[in-house]
Symmetry: C2
Subunit: 229 residues, 2 copies
């Protein structure tokens, strides 16, 4: 795992081609969507390098690779570019067949993807609620919506467990900081605690304090993407 940790901003020199036998992930250290892709890379033992991108002052060369300017983005030695978090994870699981993460049955696979989709719809609340709160707005409606979404995730998780389908690891990334919200949803809590024991998760996660510190700079409108380096 070759990595240049400090993020590259507007005006930086474009990185060279991806070394043979490696894959590159463009990331931001605290981004839950990018964390999924990095968990897949780590779990499957893929040789990869990480380039962190300054998401407030994006380099022009990055916008040429991914016109949406979001992370994660994958790049291969052949210059192929893949983005959108679930698409990158599915791509990696297909190209690197060792340690398959998605089940081979089409229905079981669809269930994992549906679960991920549900989860992705939860993530924006974790940015919106604190931002609105900071602005002094009433967030009780948003909090009720979030609670409802967690309850649905909890139901789905029960269903998946009954079916003995293994939970797709890449859900994990985003769940790590949320454990304190999970008291009303025991299945989700149990599963999250289980994931926290996973070795790839342990290797990639930050402490809740580091997350909190980064998030504070984010709320202040001046995110410190290099926090802790």
């Amino acid at each position: 795992n070759m990595s240049a940790e400090k993020c590259l901003a507007k005006g930086s020199a474009a990185p060279g081609p991806v070394p043979e036998d490696y894959i590159r992930v463009y990331s931001m250290r605290f981004c839950p969507f990018a964390q999924r892709t990095r968990l897949v890379l780590k779990t499957k033992g893929i040789k990869y390098e990480t380039i962190n991108v300054h998401l407030k002052e994006k380099p022009d060369w990055y916008l040429k690779k991914n016109p949406l300017g979001l992370v994660p983005t994958l790049e291969t030695p052949a210059g192929e570019v893949i983005y959108e978090s679930p698409i990158t994870c599915e791509y990696l699981d297909e190209v690197y067949p060792e340690k398959k993460l998605l089940p081979s049955s089409p229905f079981a696979k669809a269930q994992q993807k549906m679960m991920l989709e549900h989860f992705s719809k939860v993530i924006p609340y974790f940015y919106k609620i604190p931002m609105d709160k900071k602005k002094g707005e009433d967030v009780s409606g948003l909090e009720a919506e979030l609670k409802e979404k967690f309850a649905k995730l909890n139901e789905l998780l029960k269903l998946l467990q009954k079916l003995s389908v293994q939970i797709y690891l890449y859900l994990t990334g985003s769940t790590l900081c949320l454990i304190r919200f999970l008291d009303g949803t025991p299945e989700l809590k149990k599963w999250t605690e289980l994931m926290l024991q996973d070795s790839a998760v342990k290797a990639l996660m930050f402490s809740p304090d580091a997350h909190k510190a980064f998030f504070k700079t984010f709320l202040d409108g001046n995110p410190d993407f290099d926090y802790g380096l």
Copy 2:
């Protein structure tokens, strides 16, 4: 193709199990996300039945099948339920290998999925712009964003064509009514015109007048899901 065209609303009786050798799609006749799934079913020659759902007064039995309450949803004779438009399309393409729509190369497949994702982000503008206009709000900002998104799609389409990758048919559904917006994006316009000659598209599409008439009832807050039946 067995279909009960009129939509089922709250209080309706739940439909029975899906007949053997069939798959069922829960749909709304004018929904672009459901139209994709129906195009895949039609193009691949799959035996399916359609049940239309009243999206303003959803039946309780429908919310039990799909807690999000959205269309499309697929149901199999075994009672398996699959939803989220791209997930349903990928599921169908895996389970019914005849006439494969997605390429087998992981990168080419990822490109098709990325293109679809870009396109899905355009669809909400077609609801939001007219709704805001009706409320008397300034929509010039939204229109500029939409134009920008079309320009990006146009660039991506050029790239895909250069790579000789066939465009994944399920993009089509949503494009049909948009052709008048495509003067600044020649690749997208050319491709849309090509798609309009496809036999599955011809079989499933409504006239622009029917779309317009449905959309008027939608804007008035009382969508006539059975318009034209």
